[in-house]
Amino acid sequence: GAGVSQSPSNKVTEKGKDVELRCDPISGHTALYWYRQSLGQGLEFLIYFQGNSAPDKSGLPSDRFSAERTGGSVSTLTIQRTQQEDSAVYLCASSYTSFGRINYGYTFGSGTRLTVV
């Protein structure tokens, strides 16, 4: 597609439930990133995929968070046993390469707003 697509755009879930957030990157982009943004705050790095390499999971806040990227394209971020502090906007971005300038093909989706009640 023309841009990075994320679904759902909004998700309300009960505390303790699992949720899956989906990201469709721009076709051909090899690098994919997940970030989290709390209200009024900057972005917090979660996980990074580059091609077929092992992902960098160093930003995941707990073992309740996991992500996979199938076929080098679509990615799913899963949060198990959601907690109220997980409420945030989850942003996905993709780029042709992770090297060089951070603006190089670095395109964000509109995010998924997760609310845990």
Binding site: G42, G100, N103, T107, F108, S110, G111
Partner: protein
């Protein structure tokens, strides 16, 4: 990773020039300065990037003094649609992969009034 400091918020009026300054006292030799714009319910969008002196594109100008310890994003003749949050980031372009871990501050919330 260089830490940046920006004003929390700014107000201006349509048609005015707006300047947002970012401080980055511990910027390293290989670091570039990049500005992003974020509208409500959207992801950030790249505006401009520079290393030194002045960079200009169709959207904005970026002024960087010789010591590079600060930078100023200049938006000419703003309109209501320029109301957004603006983020200043500093990172080593040569380190490639590490840039996704740059620390994003809260940015500057710019409100343009009619």
């Amino acid at each position: 990773l260089a830490k940046t400091t920006q004003p929390i918020s700014m107000d201006s009026y349509e048609g005015q020039e707006v300047n947002i300054t970012c401080s980055h006292n511990n910027i390293a030799t290989n670091d570039y300065i990049t500005w992003y714009q974020q509208f409500p319910s959207q992801g950030p969008r790249f505006i401009i990037q520079g290393y030194k002196t002045k960079v200009t594109n169709e959207v904005a100008s970026l002024f960087i003094p010789a010591d590079r310890k600060s930078s100023t994003l200049s938006l000419p003749r703003v309109s209501l649609s320029d109301t957004a949050v603006y983020y200043c980031l500093v990172g080593d372009m040569g380190k490639g992969d590490s840039n996704y871990q740059l620390i994003w501050g809260a940015g500057t919330k710019l409100i343009i009034k009619p």
